[in-house]
């Protein structure tokens, strides 16, 4: 797997890479941060371009608070 691109790996190989990274302190914190940004994109207001048609919210039977933002702050 050395020198190959992550996205070209098979699902099993990806799991293996993640498991080995997660064993290191820096790796764990890297993965945690990636997941944190991922969930921000997936569950933040759709105005920021993620959470397409509220798919993330619908999956979790969650409705965003009202009123919703009319413009992106960030």
């Amino acid at each position: 797997m050395y020198r190959s691109s992550y996205v070209k790996l098979s699902s099993l190989q990806r799991q293996e890479v993640l498991r080995s990274i997660a064993k290191e302190e820096w790796g764990e914190s890297f993965l945690y941060n990636i997941m944190s940004y991922m969930f921000e994109a997936m569950l933040g207001d759709p105005i920021y371009g993620g959470n397409n048609k509220e798919a993330g919210w619908k999956w979790l039977a969650f409705s965003g608070g009202e009123p919703r933002p009319k413009k992106a702050f960030l």
Binding site: F39, E40, L43, D45, W57, A61, G65, R68
Partner: protein
Amino acid sequence: MVDVCIVGSGAGGSPIAYELANAGFSVVVLEKGENFTESDFNKDELAVCRRDMFTPPLWEQKHIINEYNEDGTFTRYDGAESGWNFWNGSMVGGSSNLMSGYFHRMKPNDFRLKSVYGEIKGANVVDWPLTYEELEPYYTKVEKVVGVSGKVVDHKFQEPRSSADFPYPPLQTNGATKWYDKACEALGYDVMPTPRAILSEDALNRKGCFYSNFCGSYGCASGAKGSGRAALLQKCQAKIITNAFVYRLESDDKRVTRAYYYTKHGVRHSVQAKIFVLAAQAIESSRLLLNSKNEHFPNGLANSSGEVGKNLIFSAGGSGSGRFVFEKLSKEQQEALMQPGVFFNRSLQDWYEFSQDGKKYKGGTIDFLFEHQNIIPRVMQEVYDSEGNLLWGEQLAKNIHKRMTTSRVLTFEVFNDWLPTDRCFVSVDEEVKDKYGVPVGVINLYGHPQDLRVGEHLAKKAVKVLEELGCEEIDYSISASPPPNLVAGGCRFGEDVKTSVLDKNCKAHDLENLYVSDASFMPTGGSVPYTWTIYANSFRVADVIKERLQVSKS
């Protein structure tokens, strides 16, 4: 020259602006932040909670934090490097815009902690120069003018009231509160609805609560929340200058003469007034006084006692939680539990005072509430399995879905006295400056061991309720880590000019025309959130200033 210049527009400053402007005096309010109104507020979790849009970026303005260690040393943290954030809301109305509005009065014994409970070794406990009876009319005034909803129920530590009940009926609650009430009954605890600074119906030219499901940390789009802005500043003609950061008060040997401030672009301006009122929040008010030293006050303005910044207090206690799971509930109960929007709103004050080993202790308050509805932190709690390994992929997706759709967390918060000590105080740093070039505040932190013991005692009582309710994963944590939104002290009021900064009317002993009307005046804090008491005291100080200005006018 204006009659009154107020530094800060939050719960400490807004009642003064409201009372004096409505009495016909000229009032200028200097506010460091911007103005937002109902139409600006929304429930954008990313902006409000994850990118802190209402507080200054820490790389521009920060604190230095010195945490006391058991071996007598302090560990120094740079606020920007550590991300330790003590800002609460820089905006017109201050953090009262963002509060949850759990409103409890202090109780008569809170005003005389030393006489009732005695000295505590290592703590600077004193009686207030003010009694509950003197403050009571102002608590009542806040109920009516700011708007407090609730229902008075008789219980062991119910404080005396001049009116029978709250002027506004309680907010709607979730069906699960019925289970809670039953559980408390079984345990012999007194059920008490939590009073809230939220209008339950249209009143005071404001809308009643919309039950948006997102209250604490967010600005209120309905105007139901009793922020200093919605309830007071929007209802008076006080002139509010925004983006005005006051960095120095100038004085001669008797009087404050000018408040100097920087605009957003660093341009220097000043305001002259007959009377100055400082209400920048406890830490920042002490910082401003210390940064305003001059030839008459070489140790800081109003600081001939050396007491400015001393005896900083927070609220001690902590929090805990338990989880309702669908497996233990009927279909009907599941639906009731998941109903969004409506509140939980239950408190316990059965142990506001308690005895242990024959000694009487001051206890505190427990509030029960649903876990905050913000979805991102709730989901992020699931990324570790029970052994502490990171999860991803299908397993993570499965766990998240189950937890979010078939369970709900009930949390509790414990509020007890953060005892004032010599080791917990505000100073200013000799080298580190903010973006304006002004020395930053240093927060020296220490929690008295008794705070933890009392917190622990209360948390165990709250846990019993969660157990009785059949909750799972019950857990709690009582810590000496300070809640940055519950801060007071630093400019104690008292009779003795040698041991206090302010007199009974919150006027500086050293100066004829300087008042401090935020939580700085409090020598001890009570075992409740501070906001109601800050409002009430500020209305009291407003009456003092009003009378003084009327006398000088006639």
